[in-house]
Symmetry: C2
């Protein structure tokens, strides 16, 4: 399969399924540099009791550890759901080149849906943003997770 955005988003979706398997909100992320996956992460907020344990942050911290720097110039992040303000703020610090996300998050999405963090003044770094890659697949995974939760709670 050609290594395009859909290819990498499928890998992020695979990560999201790992979150689903441990009853976490199914969101996954990977970081790519020079056409190679250098880190992967899936949401583990409940398991770790850590509000920062979003898929993106886990993947970012792993990538930085691997590269031995706290900057991610030349890297791209693929994440199944639009990043929140915490994750978008972290991505700004990393100076990552490109952010690709699957489904929008109308409630908390910080890259255009709820608001746009990168439109603030004083920014000297503007990553390329690309949304909507495998949007339905990424969105449906999360919708189904919450539908199932509500169903279980109503019983």
């Amino acid at each position: 399969m050609k290594k395009n955005d859909e290819y990498y988003m499928l890998l992020a979706l695979k990560e999201a399924m790992k979150a689903q398997a441990i009853d976490e909100v199914p969101i996954g992320a990977i970081i790519v540099k020079n056409d190679k996956v250098i880190s992967r992460g899936h949401n583990q907020r409940e398991k770790r009791n850590d509000p920062t344990a979003h898929a993106e942050i886990i993947a970012i911290r792993k990538a930085c550890k691997k590269l031995g720097v706290w900057r991610l110039d030349g890297c791209q992040l693929y994440v199944t759901i639009e990043p929140c303000s915490m994750c978008a703020g972290t991505l700004l610090w990393t100076r990552i080149d490109r952010i690709v996300f699957g489904a929008k998050d109308p409630k908390g999405g910080a890259l255009g849906s709820s608001y746009h963090l990168f439109e603030q003044k004083n920014l000297n770094h503007h990553p390329v943003i690309c949304g909507g890659v495998l949007e339905n697949e990424c969105g449906q995974l999360v919708s189904a997770f919450f539908q199932n939760k509500r169903l279980l709670q109503s019983k």
Copy 2:
């Protein structure tokens, strides 16, 4: 000494000095619950090669680990410098009660200086924010750090 905002900010300043001692930008934070300090953190971004290793995030993760939850209801954060978007975004998730900061950060401060993250729509949690506690002391520590850096670089 009475346990007021200045008292706790002095403890955060003590943390900031720990960062200074290891040549990190001198910013410190503590988290208080029921008048007890439950966690402390100082900036360790360079040392850990971790873009998320801000004083606030370190203190938040420690507090959550200690409490066994990823929410910080009933807690207050004291930090020497106004939080950035990453830290402010994390604080939103924790549902912390109150955020007290020392000096403003005109360039990247996300609680009013550069922009105000908590003024976004759709928020269902609004922590109390109090800025300017020991403002000069907190700000001068960081200013002196950068002045010293520039001086060393110019030699």
